[in-house]
Symmetry: C2
Subunit: 454 residues, 2 copies
Amino acid sequence: MTDLFQAPKGTRDFLPPAMAVRRYIEDAWRRVSLRYGFQEVDGPTFESLDLYKVKSGDEIVSQLFAFTDRGGRDLALRPEFTPTLARIVAQLGGGLPKPIKWFSIPRCYRAEQPQKGRLREFIQWNVDFVGDSSFKADRECLALCAALLFELGLTPNDFKVSWNHRDLMAELLVGLGIRADKLADTFYVLDRLQKLSDVERDKLLQSREFSPSEQKILHLFATEMGKPEAEQTELKALLSAPVPRGVYEKIMILQDQLSLPELADNFHWDIGLVRGLAYYTGFVFEVADAKGENRAVAGGGRYDGLIEIFGGKPTPAVGFGMGDVVLEILLADRGLLPDKPLGGPDVFIVNASDDNGLTDLWASRLRRSTFDRTLKTVIQQGLRVEHSYKSTRNIGKLLQEAAAAHARFALILAPDELSRHVVKWRDMQSRTESELPLSQAETLIRAACSGGGD
Amino acid sequence: MTDLFQAPKGTRDFLPPAMAVRRYIEDAWRRVSLRYGFQEVDGPTFESLDLYKVKSGDEIVSQLFAFTDRGGRDLALRPEFTPTLARIVAQLGGGLPKPIKWFSIPRCYRAEQPQKGRLREFIQWNVDFVGDSSFKADRECLALCAALLFELGLTPNDFKVSWNHRDLMAELLVGLGIRADKLADTFYVLDRLQKLSDVERDKLLQSREFSPSEQKILHLFATEMGKPEAEQTELKALLSAPVPRGVYEKIMILQDQLSLPELADNFHWDIGLVRGLAYYTGFVFEVADAKGENRAVAGGGRYDGLIEIFGGKPTPAVGFGMGDVVLEILLADRGLLPDKPLGGPDVFIVNASDDNGLTDLWASRLRRSTFDRTLKTVIQQGLRVEHSYKSTRNIGKLLQEAAAAHARFALILAPDELSRHVVKWRDMQSRTESELPLSQAETLIRAACSGGGD
């Protein structure tokens, strides 16, 4: 016997229950995006390797699944969708009406060590709002992100939204005495501060050649960021000093403008929020589990310079991403995943007659749709119909099978009724039965099933 | 300025209209599969390279996008879904209730020269019926395949279904005098006969070392297969001879058993249909454009030995695949692709007041869903709402924008009406307007939108 093959490391097999959960999440992403006026796009699963270097430099290569095609072209599986989006907008941007409001639901790939909430293959909802530089576009992205979480049953108590502003933050840091040429290093350090031990932190600060006064500020940040907001007295004192106060006031105005009523007071400016990616220019935000147990559920920000880097015209843009893995962990933790994700058939055919062909006949009739060639659309949908593949004609056993399949109704074809030109119709939930005349059965069954289901 | 990047050769960018068509096809695949009681599954986009060699030998490697991960494992992008399915069933088969009725809609990859109907990256609908060796499973796959084509508006006049049976065909060939050890070569030749010129055909026959009598039979096949069925007199004479007649009769019985009323007489036994893949064991079929212009729209067959090759228990199985590229060409050719695949919003907000915040307020209210945490489901869906990003307050211009977006309704917020505590509500198709009292507007709008849309 051959050894059994396994799925590659960091990937998943989606059996029907897992696949149904995946579709439940993807359908919500799509539904809510369309509701907010975003249109779906997609690109290739792989792009030229160089496309990923433009934005992230050569170091990205070690995190990619890269390969060469037969023409010798270097390609890589997409680690994210943004470079594809930037490539498309750089090519076509001038010909597209603005604003461009696009979403996508690509599978993405990272050649890194799998861990909880982080796999080598995952699915990511991407939302991008291109061509509007105002805070309204930032706010609409934020609103859509929140709407998705509400759509899946989460409440503002389940998650927290942090935000910051890259450019204002730079202005603030310079106001506090950080040298302009140390800003990139400062963002790098800020992004890691809360993940490091004290020793690691001090080592990092020294390695980046910060001056003693710069180190003092970053020390203060590190200490204060670990405290609840109300207790960050030293930080507040620092920000209220005359020099940075003007910038801090701008930040507070933006906080008001971005605040969504539906997030209530669950939306905080976080001085430590940088979001690693080098290309963010303004607003950045992150959604995390309120319990603080998981990685970020979603994150994004404004990247006004990116389209230009890819050869396009200067184009303002803001967007965010949300992965399926962490979101599913969060929903499972809150008991919000559907109990019966697979659903069941509308009708389960229970054939207790001698005529096996009747099962096929009824299944085929009820599953059939009616397509209108003029309107180019299905005007009457077929029903979800299942039946047993066992040879038994025992109505009791067949009804058990119907119940196990979560069928809404059973259509019972039994010799007695058939000889009287009727069929039995059973509501599986209420366990009530009626008789339908054969000549009207299809119409009556379709009517019964049209409320709910599918 | 940087040179603009292009999408890799043989791949596609899906801008919103193309993406909407893709979803239109994928949704039909999913909907019809569920209707027939098949459940959706998926696997990784890449598998270990060895998985693909099991079924297809080393020669498959040159047609794959292969790469190595950092642990040195050889991987490849999936060229099809069947090896993944066989791997999963081999692992779990014993624990799964039979029959296993699964479908999937994976993206697949082929490292070959792109041409019409054949790209390097495509989407394929896969249907597999595992654990039933009877012709009923074959017939159900065929019925599902046909139902999909009908669901998209095609009629039996638009396509033709050919079938054959590998084992009966082998029996027939042996009956006609083909040596048993030349059967594999014969299938290989039959699969190519209709694609070759006379010269190429004769060269192929000689290279495979067929005897003169074998060559004579294959010559006859080649000549007859090019004719309409009614004119294949030599072939019919051959099959009616005493020796192969018994097998031919079995084939004709199967033809009756497999025939679906909905396909009418558009279902033909094709002695030349082999379907390239080496693992088919019984029934094979193929759907082609009736105009004969394109590649196969769909194809499949029975592969009773495959699960065992992958280390599982002997398990009968039948399945088929249908790619998006050829199907879309066929639908486009028949004028069956939707005219407005993108759809439009339920409501377009026309804000002619001085209060910009009103747009956000109404958009947010109407887009909102109501989730029931006990039922774990959305009990009232939000609406698709759009609005203008232009600064104009001109109602006429804004209504033009609403019409261009294909909105069903416009919600008009104008100073006069607002001062009277009403809003205007316009049906964009009938161009009729009414006034809604502010206090009941949301309820009335949701009711108006609940018929149709989304």
